[in-house]
């Protein structure tokens, strides 16, 4: 199964409540996937600064003095916010690559969950309510966000196998379904220079879209290409720095419901996930068509 929720806010007044709304939606979807949960949240971009969200299985050791050690390595100030097993490192945008390289040497056990100027990804094994509480997702602000609760089918139940997957700056993808040609597509993408952290099918879909965007394709075209090049069952929800997209495979057996008002666009695997959103009674509610790309950008 797996459960997906997503919110793209049009009304800035809702931005302080983004984390709380997504948390409520995600917990409602718990029985679609109790293995692990994750959230990508976009917001708080500051001129000239980038954010690296990193994860460690031993945060007490790995995050101790990490900001100071990174500062020494790149020669620029680094700010760090630790949240349980994750930490968000703020570094100058032009030092992001240098910081990532230094990180690999300084703390080899640390994994990069996301990089960009507005994205932060938090994901762990466990129930949505526990994962959300651990990272205090309910208090996060932002412009748009995507959440996922996983019932694993294709690969192991691990932190790195949880969704969302991020394979490009400020990009992320979540997936309900399973892909059957991911090994072949992964091989081709590796040949083209993409790198992978897991054997997971969803990471391949994320990297496929990142590669299209890297080649200059607009988001809509990148999503359309999944319909011809990826084989299997999928409902994908993707996030970019300023965009939010949805696509379902032509068979469309993985459920999806969308709602739109003047204040937001919302996605849920089921209508249950949307029932507490403001104004849902009068929202336009519909089931996204198979093999049809939907996206919103600001």
């Amino acid at each position: 199964m797996c459960g997906i929720v997503g919110l793209f806010l049009k009304d800035p007044k809702l931005e302080p409540q983004l984390g709380a709304m997504l948390t409520d939606m995600l917990i409602t979807m718990t029985d679609r996937g109790p293995d692990s949960a994750g959230i990508a949240i976009y917001g708080g971009a500051r001129d000239g600064l980038g954010k690296l969200t990193v994860q460690s299985s031993d945060p007490g050791r790995d995050f101790k003095d990490l900001d100071g050690d990174l500062h020494d390595a790149i020669g620029q100030p680094v700010a760090m916010r630790v949240k349980s097993t994750h930490a968000v490192l703020e570094v100058p945008l032009d030092q992001m690559e240098a910081a990532r390289s230094a990180l690999a040497h300084l703390r080899p056990g640390v994994k990069v969950m996301s990089a960009g100027d507005s994205i932060e990804i938090f994901k762990e094994v466990g129930l949505p309510k526990d994962v959300a509480a651990r990272f205090d997702v309910a208090r996060m602000k932002g412009t748009h966000g995507i959440g996922h609760t996983r019932m694993a089918t294709e690969s192991a139940v691990t932190t790195m196998g949880a969704h969302p997957f991020s394979t490009g700056a400020d990009q992320c993808l979540v997936h309900n379904g399973s892909l059957s040609n991911h090994n072949g597509v992964r091989r081709e993408l590796k040949h083209l220079g993409m790198t992978f952290e897991t054997e997971n099918d969803t990471e391949v879909a994320a990297a496929f879209i990142s590669h299209k965007l890297h080649d200059g394709e607009p988001l809509g075209r990148a999503l359309e290409a999944t319909l011809t090049d990826l084989d299997g069952f999928f409902t994908f929800v993707v996030g970019t720095r300023n965009g939010f997209g949805v696509v379902r495979d032509p068979i469309a057996c993985k459920p999806a419901v969308m709602a739109e008002t003047d204040a937001y666009v919302a996605f849920g695997s089921e209508y249950r996930a949307l029932v507490n959103l403001p104004g849902i009674e009068t929202a336009r509610v519909w089931e996204p068509e198979p093999a049809t790309v939907y996206f919103w950008e600001r």
Binding site: P250, I251, A252, C253, P255, V257, E270, Y271, R272, A273, L274, V275, V285, W286, E287, P290
Partner: protein
């Protein structure tokens, strides 16, 4: 009128109360409030009662229904009225995938659109859809009737047995062994009755529909193929 707040009392309490109704009962009118997309609302009812759900429902609402009239004042999630035996289910909004799947009897009315696989493997149910139906609808449909006032998606009636499919609008494509057939007077009469029962007689006339059915080449044994087995 028995009013039931699903948010307060819970799904098990609702379905237990409905399952306890047997034969003739004087509690014939029920209202369910705060459905909030919950699953399996009023599934497995077997009594001649009238149930109104005030809002949208999740998976399998009114599944296996016998005798009851169930009205959904919203939209329905996947598998609404799945394997219905008798009675009536009326949805004011849209229905998600496989509405009326494997239904053996009764009447399912969808006043909005139905998505993919509507009436898949239907076995005697009558379905009236005021809007459109999605792809792979009526796949392996065995008997019963479906009436679609709008359009049908890809592969309508694939591997069809003896269900009758009436579509007023366009059909994106017909599935294997599904063909258009002539409308004879008995079909016009059948349609007139179905439109009336489906609360659609003010919206469409029987003469506006085309009929689709099985070419009967796929499910009947052909001696020329004997060597293939």
């Amino acid at each position: 009128m028995q009013s039931f707040d699903l948010g307060k009392e819970g799904l098990r309490a609702l379905n237990s109360a409905l399952h306890a109704l047997k034969g003739q009962t004087n509690m014939t009118a029920w209202e369910v409030i705060n459905p909030k997309g919950a699953h399996a609302i009023a599934a497995g009812v077997d009594a001649p009662v009238d149930i109104t759900v005030r809002g949208s429902t999740g998976y399998y609402c009114a599944g296996m229904n016998k005798q009851a009239t169930i009205r959904i004042k919203g939209s329905a999630g996947p598998g609404v009225a799945e394997n219905m035996m008798s009675g009536t289910v009326i949805i004011d909004g849209d229905a998600s995938q496989y509405a009326g799947a494997t239904g053996r009897g009764g009447l399912l009315v969808i006043k909005g659109n139905a998505s993919s696989r509507c009436g898949i493997s239907m076995k005697g149910i009558d379905i009236v859809v005021h809007g459109n139906i999605g792809h792979m609808s009526c796949f392996m449909a065995q008997s019963g009737n479906i009436v679609v006032l709008g359009n049908a998606g890809e592969a309508l009636g694939d591997s069809l047995y003896e269900a009758r499919l009436f579509v007023r609008g366009s059909v994106k494509s017909l599935g294997a062994d599904c063909i258009e057939k002539e409308m004879r007077p008995e079909h016009i009469a059948l349609l007139a009755g179905l439109l009336k029962r489906g609360e659609a007689d003010g919206k469409a006339r029987p003469e506006e529909f085309r009929r689709y059915g099985s070419a009967r080449k796929l499910y009947t044994f052909n001696i020329d193929n004997a060597s293939a087995y």
